[in-house]
């Protein structure tokens, strides 16, 4: 059975494996709440204009959207406690419409808060050591990382201490709050890159040298958006204690020389491209010389202090095979199918990580109700150590589930709509909120995801298609990571109508795409919304016909290029085919 003592509420302080605020952290978040309340008051009183308030509220995660403000809350490097998740559920009930949305950058968004409540929401978040600091705006955003940090068997070292150190360093950095454009940093430290690290403004790969010391491989200039680029390595073998000073040097070069005349050319990737990676690296090194042994040099004491919070909880000594679990796998086909997708390896024998899919057909990808959040929080305590993860694929992970508990967890998850067995499959769609909510969007994305899910609702067929990433963005800002999708869909606006551009062959660096990071190639002219399920069907049929043993969709695209897919998709007009099918049905 579950190993948390039943009925005991979890204190944040009791948790193994999570950073706990000290007086400094608490003071900073409290002062932020006070600062924001004051800014909101001045905005409402008219002494802070709309243009003056906008950058300030954005740096607090607050957008003014189509229907209401949208508040984006940070989940630093994707780590949550059950207590925090319950508070997120409470906020959804108290200030919103009973649900929230997990994003592709390990944040959670509320779509319907009232502007006048936002100060109280931040105060409620602060009470569980959470905040919305720098979740938007032209500043350093939430630091993201591997959702399996600390438990993955392929991990080189735990990336979370460095991610937390970077979170603190970037929080209210006085020099870098008004950068040319948004700035995203990801940290990864495993054989597999599960954080889309190469698609970040700075990507940090932590490695170990021959003596066991931590080294950092530094990538810059990755990103999606209008000009998708895979980041380039500008520094190998940086000793870990120089991480902050090196990042500072990069940001100073960018802050001073990044373009500010055109917001579409303002990301660091444009500067890196314009200077060339070698020249950019030279300027960074030149700047870094002045900083490298200064006050920003990390100390072993500080690293160890932070790392101590992430020490693994004490797992039970369990056999690596559980006979009862094996029997259930053999007897219970739906359970087996779910376990085949949802259950991920764990470094401790007898334990597994479980990915709860937030992608059942008919629910906007990444959406979760307050009731589901409370259930998941309960499970985190009953089937784990009160700790949770959220992934950039917009799913939730229970990181420490015993083999012997998997069946019980599955049954409960099924009762609450959280046991869809599609993790890593075609219907596990990464999707932004799109035109239904977002004022930046050119087109809706949620209805496209739903239409594709309905077309591919046969689980046997889905499993036969196998591992594939379908990513949908409602505009060029690429929140739905369409460039990195094995199939990517981008909503575009043509003369006021919504159209969808399709690309294939993108890859986010994870093992789903064999570890490659690549930008998808556009296959041709855009389609109307109602054509999209058929377009995806043609891509899939092409793949199934072309695939050799064991080849995934992405492998076939890699081998054949886009030509056969393009030929098939555009062979006959898609809408005409649909009409013909409908005629036959009648």
């Amino acid at each position: 059975m579950a190993h948390a003592a039943a009925g005991n509420a979890f204190d944040i302080g009791e948790l193994a494996g999570m950073y706990v605020y000290d007086q400094i952290d608490r003071t900073i978040v409290a002062e932020r709440v006070a600062q924001y309340r004051d800014q909101l008051r001045r905005f409402q009183a008219g002494t802070l204009s709309e243009d003056e308030f906008r950058p300030l509220r954005l740096q607090n995660g607050l957008y003014i959207q189509k229907h209401a403000p949208m508040l984006r809350v940070a989940i630093p490097y994707g780590l949550l406690s059950s207590t925090q998740l319950r508070m997120l559920a409470t906020i959804a009930r108290k200030y919103d419409r009973g649900y929230a949305h997990f994003t592709t950058r390990q944040n959670i968004q509320y779509n319907w808060p009232r502007l006048e409540d936002t100060g109280d929401i931040l105060a409620d978040l602060a009470s569980v050591e959470m905040h919305a600091i720098q979740t938007s705006g032209n500043c350093v955003r939430n630091i993201t990382s591997d959702e399996f940090a600390g438990i993955a068997p392929d991990e080189i070292l735990d990336p979370r201490p460095m991610a937390e150190i970077l979170r603190q360093w970037s929080t209210f950095h006085p020099e870098f709050a008004f950068l040319p454009r948004k700035f995203k940093i990801a940290v990864s430290a495993a054989a597999e890159d599960r954080a889309a690290t190469a698609f970040h403004d700075i990507g940090l790969y932590l490695e170990k040298d021959a003596a066991g010391g931590i080294r950092v491989r530094v990538l810059v200039g990755g990103g999606m958006g209008r000009t998708p680029i895979v980041g380039v390595v500008i520094r190998q073998d940086l000793p870990w204690e120089h991480t902050l000073t090196y990042v500072e040097a990069i940001l100073r070069v960018y802050n001073r020389h990044g373009r500010r005349d055109n917001m579409y050319k303002a990301r660091i990737k444009i500067l890196v491209k314009a200077l060339g990676p070698d020249e950019f690296a030279r300027q960074v090194e030149e700047e870094w010389v002045h900083l490298k042994d200064g006050a920003g040099l990390l100390t072993r004491e500080e690293y160890d202090r932070v790392a101590a919070y992430f020490v693994a909880p004490v797992h039970a000594t369990l056999p690596s095979v559980d006979a009862a679990h094996e029997a259930r796998l053999a007897d219970d086909v739906p359970f087996r199918r779910w376990a085949g997708r949802a259950v991920r390896p764990h470094r401790v024998p007898g334990y597994r990580a479980v990915v709860l899919s937030l992608k059942p057909t008919g629910v906007p990808p990444g959406d979760v109700t307050a009731d589901q959040m409370n259930r998941i929080a309960d499970w985190a305590e009953r089937f784990g150590f009160g700790e949770l993860r959220v992934s950039h694929e917009q799913n939730v992970i229970l990181p420490d589930v015993r083999l012997s508990d998997l069946h019980e967890l599955w049954q409960e998850a099924r009762a609450h709509g959280l046991a869809t067995a599609n993790q890593g499959l075609l219907t596990d769609i990464i999707c932004c909120p799109g035109g239904d909510f977002c004022s930046l969007a050119n087109a809706k994305s949620i209805p496209i995801a739903e239409a594709v899910q309905r077309r591919f609702d046969d689980l046997d067929y889905l499993h036969d298609i196998g591992e594939i990433n379908l990513n949908i963005s409602g505009c060029m800002n690429s929140c739905g990571h369409h460039h990195a999708g094995h199939i990517g869909i981008l909503g575009v606006d043509k003369d006021g109508a919504e159209w969808y551009q399709v690309s294939i062959g993108g890859a986010d660096g994870s093992s789903a795409g064999r570890g490659r990071s690549a930008i998808g190639k556009v296959i041709g002219p855009s389609f109307a919304a109602d054509a999209m399920p058929e377009v995806i069907a043609r891509l899939i049929e092409t793949y199934l016909e072309l695939r050799a043993d064991g080849e995934r969709f992405i492998d076939v695209v890699e081998r054949t290029g886009i030509a056969p897919f393009k030929t098939r998709v555009y062979a006959t007009p898609v809408a005409a085919v649909q009409r013909a099918e409908e005629a036959v049905d009648v």
């Binding site: 302080g13 900073i28 360093w169 709050a177 008004f178 500010r260 002045h290 006050a295 920003g296």
Partner: protein, 173 residues
């Protein structure tokens, strides 16, 4: 007469900012005046005899060009054409930490109350708050965050070198 915040007080501003139109004479007006970087660099030797001339620098300009003049300058101002243009923060920081400037470092232009804490931390000590804003109300925002995480000009040490971290006195619920 207009007012500025100098360190932590509101004081009368004695300096004029000289913003000559392009193509006009590079002559330096009389009285306390802050001249553009180009005029300073072009006439530094001539102007150096005057103690009532300072310089202002635009965000695209390189503060390193002032390196040899800094000990002669009573005021260096950094222009913020828009408050969202953050280049001036790096310029201010470099003038203090890299080039050793110790005189008055002033933020001019689109300087708004909510930027003062950050400006102060990177090294500014004078703030020409935009005229339509309440400069006395702005004063209270000069220190918004009492214990910042990072080192900059102020504080010169990051939290992890300043204090013993991790002293949790109570666990919040």
């Amino acid at each position: 007469m207009s007012e500025i915040i100098l360190r932590d007080r509101v004081v009368a501003d004695t300096w004029q900012i000289h913003r000559p139109e392009a193509g006009t004479s590079p002559a330096v007006p009389a009285g306390h005046v802050l001249v553009p970087l180009a005029i300073w660099l072009g006439q530094a030797d001539v102007i150096a005899s005057r103690s009532d001339v300072g310089v202002w620098i635009a965000p695209h300009e390189d503060p390193a060009t002032l390196r040899d003049s800094l000990d002669r300058l009573p005021v260096v101002a950094v222009d913020f054409p828009k408050f969202t243009d953050g280049r001036g923060y790096s310029i201010g920081h470099l003038l203090r930490t890299r080039y050793g400037y110790r005189g008055e470092l002033r933020a001019i232009g689109d300087v708004l109350p909510d930027q003062l804490d950050y400006l102060r931390r990177v090294g500014f000590d004078a703030y020409a708050v935009r005229a339509d804003k309440d400069i006395r109300d702005a004063l209270r925002l000069l220190t918004t965050f009492s214990e910042p995480y990072q080192n900059s000009w102020e504080p010169p040490l990051p939290a992890f070198r300043r204090v013993a971290r991790g002293q949790v006195t109570e666990v919040p619920r």
